[in-house]
């Protein structure tokens, strides 16, 4: 793990390379995190992956978080790993909710896909899209992955109620007509 000054050094170098890319940093429980501008997340990831001395070239995990009621509401979290130094770095792209900014209730947050940089992200990004409705621009095959393709709603958002969805059985067709479509 980069320690607290190490994290600030990384953030400083990143700001030199890509101005305004790093919005904030935090270091707690020995875990380091960069909060970055979602528009520049690919630049940041590429810089962290390719810069000598950094080389965070293994993407352990990618997942979505809904920070409701905080703003910006969504976070796409990249758990990066350098295997030589065994250092982990968390990068969080802070995504605002376009629906709250008056873009219409159906507007989805969007961010660039990092599949080109990390091919492992393909399934992860599909999962985040599936559960949070975050669109990954440039993803080769952005479909729902775990839920049925006809599913409506983004169930891991915090305002989606648990148990808020009717359990669909064949004999429910009388009650919920047309559920098979």
């Amino acid at each position: 793990m980069p320690d607290s000054p190490g994290l600030e050094l990384i953030a400083g170098e990143l700001r030199d390379a890509h101005p305004d890319s790093v919005l904030a940093t935090y270091h707690e429980h020995d875990q380091a995190c960069l909060i970055v501008d979602p528009e520049q997340v690919l630049d940041v990831l590429r810089w962290l992956r390719d810069t000598p001395g950094q080389r965070y070239d293994f993407l352990s995990s990618l997942h979505g978080v809904d920070y409701l009621p905080a703003a910006p509401r969504f976070g796409v979290v990249y758990e990066l790993l350098n295997r030589d130094r065994v250092e982990r770095l968390r990068v969080r792209a802070a995504l605002p909710d376009p629906a709250a900014n008056g873009d219409g209730a159906d507007a989805l947050p969007a961010i660039d896909s990092c599949v080109e940089l990390f091919p492992t992200a393909e399934f992860h990004e599909r999962e985040v899209y599936d559960f949070f409705g975050i669109v990954f621009r440039g993803h080769p095959d952005l479909r729902r992955i775990l839920l049925p393709e006809v599913y409506v709603g983004w169930p891991h958002r915090r305002d989606f109620p648990i148990g808020g969805e009717p359990v669909i059985f064949t004999h429910d067709e009388r009650i919920v007509p047309g559920w098979t479509e």
Binding site: L59, S60, V65, E79, F123, F131, I162
Partner: protein, 426 residues
């Protein structure tokens, strides 16, 4: 049964054929097929989600040209139960049984990842005895998981007797789990701050007996399979993906080690008491199915060594952290201490609160890096629990293992991939 693989892999396929999209018209004449001399039709076959060789409810859409796999698409989600969402509605200690049911063969690893993340957020130190007890159970779990893998994989490749032998030893491990925790599977033995109960009298002796037995059994498994011509021809040279590509695809665990990369979180980033233990990390050379089998077999041997060392060095002392805000007070204190009663009441009704923050805690599960991400918002329930499950990630590598090979090798590759669909779908 077709026994492909080995030396006679099919001829290199033209690039345009390999890029054919799955799911278009089911039968389609391709120019490449005609050009190759054998005029063959492209056929899309649906395997699963209930094929017994898919190790769960995995569905594979396979494009075939004759017997050669041209393209493959895993379709997952048939076992999705929304565990991560359900976790958000439970207090922290009630989440543990939920996460156990994700990867249902390595439940101790799931528990360790989740409890580790919560302990990181609480900055809670585990007493040494709890660490050792956890490692004993984690390693027993690793053997258990690998035994189920070995039995079912050998079964897929036609070696039926392996299944019975492996499940015989697996049952002994389940007996051990029953002895220490009262449950055979999904034990909920770990809890935040340590383990649920100290091991009972006689447990150590039973584990030692099992370890001594297991060493012999492993040699027997090796003898059964290493001389088995069918098994060898169906695993050697099958499913090779380069180490660099595996890393790009995020593959970890035995699959990566079989390709020659000695990456093991127990060594690289040791948690619990792994730093005190002496064990080796088996690696393969080529990264074919046979290497994967050998790596896992050797890992079981190393796990036995770890368990024996843990039993030798098992420290005395408490088995759970002494933090009354997190851990239930001992039962005998309830009748004499008002304070203990209040703590007990608060913990059982509300649960403990975790200060706001987020943590990612990876462990080396039997299948690879299993990480738990927990977001705490200061209440008694987690705001987000996400498990990075290795099977989910490894599913992406299946296509590259199979394309260009025979369909019989697909079964072999899937068996050696060892996916657990409960973990994939969560």
């Amino acid at each position: 049964m077709p026994t492909g693989g080995g030396g006679d892999t099919p001829a290199d396929l033209p690039a345009e054929t390999a890029a054919t999209v799955v799911g278009s018209s089911p039968i389609e004449r391709t120019e490449a097929g005609a050009a190759a001399g054998a005029e063959q039709e492209l056929m899309t076959v649906n395997m699963g989600p209930h094929h017994p060789a898919t190790h769960g409810v995995l569905r594979l859409l396979v494009s075939l040209q004759g017997e050669v796999v041209i393209d493959l698409k895993p379709i997952i989600g048939y076992l999705h139960t929304g565990i991560e969402k359900s976790c958000e509605d439970q207090s922290y200690w009630k989440v543990i049984p939920f996460v156990e049911r994700m990867d249902y063969l390595s439940y101790f690893s799931n528990m360790q990842a989740y409890c580790g993340a919560v302990e990181t957020l609480l900055e809670l130190e585990l007493p040494p005895r709890a660490q050792y007890l956890r490692v004993i159970h984690l390693e027993l779990n690793r053997i258990h998981s690998h035994l189920v893998w070995l039995g079912t994989s050998a079964l897929d490749l036609g070696a039926i007797s392996m299944f019975w032998y492996c499940f015989r030893e697996r049952d002994k491990i389940l007996d051990l789990f029953e002895m220490s925790s009262g449950q055979r599977m999904h034990t909920r033995y770990f809890q935040v701050g340590g383990v649920f109960e100290d091991i009972p009298a006689g447990f150590e002796r039973k584990v030692r007996e099992f370890c001594a037995d297991m060493v012999v059994r492993l040699e027997q498994y090796r003898a059964l399979l290493d001389r088995n011509e069918i098994f060898l021809r169906r695993t050697k040279g099958v499913g090779i993906v380069s180490r660099e590509r595996l890393l790009e695809l995020g593959v970890t665990g035995p699959l990566l080690r079989a390709a020659g990369e000695p990456w093991d979180l127990r060594r690289a980033q040791p948690d619990l008491c792994y730093a005190d233990l002496d064990f080796k990390i088996p690696v393969g050379t080529v990264g074919d199915g046979y290497d994967r089998y050998r790596v896992r077999l050797q890992e079981m041997r190393e796990s036995v060594r770890i368990i024996e060392q843990c039993l030798d060095g098992l420290p005395e002392g408490p088995f759970v952290a002494d933090d009354r805000k997190v851990v239930l007070p001992p039962r005998d204190e309830l009748s004499i201490s008002m304070e203990a009663l209040i703590h007990h009441f608060k913990l059982v009704t509300e649960g403990f609160r975790v200060p706001p923050g987020e943590a990612y805690y990876p462990v080396e599960s039997p299948r690879g890096e299993l990480g738990a991400f927990v977001l705490a918002d200061g209440s008694a329930k987690p705001a987000r629990v996400h498990i990075r499950d290795p099977s989910f990630v490894h599913m992406q590598a299946l296509r590259e293992m199979c394309v260009g090979g025979y369909i019989a090798d697909l079964i072999s590759n899937l068996a050696m991939l060892d996916p657990i669909l409960g973990g994939v779908d969560r």
